[in-house]
Symmetry: C2
Subunit: 76 residues, 2 copies
Amino acid sequence: MKINVYVTLKPGVLDPQGKAIHHALASLGFAGIDDVRAGRFIELEVANDTSDDDLDAMCRKLLANTVIENYRIERG
Amino acid sequence: MKINVYVTLKPGVLDPQGKAIHHALASLGFAGIDDVRAGRFIELEVANDTSDDDLDAMCRKLLANTVIENYRIERG
C-alpha cells in the first residue's frame, strides 16, 4: 500500500530554505512570487494492514519534528 | 494563487535519504515497511497570471535537478 507523507513547517516558523529559494527565483528573473515554503515529501510502501495509528506514530517519532512541523498522511 | 510542487527522485536513482529513514523506522520497531522514498514539497504563493510555462521554467531552472529528479506541479 502506498502512503504519502507531507511534512511542512508550522505557520510562523522561520523558513530559511524557502527564503533562499524565493531569492534565487527572483534573481533568475521570475516575477510575481509572493512566498515560498519548503517541506518534505516522503513516499512509503507499507503492508496493507498498516494501521492509521502506526502511520501516525511513524510521523510523530521520526518523520516530522512536531515542535515546528505539521504532517499530513495521504493513502496513495 | 497557491502552487504545490513535488520533487521526487527518478525511479532507479539511489535514495540514501530514503534508505536512512527506512532503517530508522525499522530500528524503532515499525514492521511491514517495504520501501521509503524521500522527496521535496515546495509551496509557492504566486500571482494569478503566472503561466504554466513560468512554473515549468521555475522547476527546470531551480526547483528540480531534472537529470535525477521528476517534478509535478499542482495548482492549489
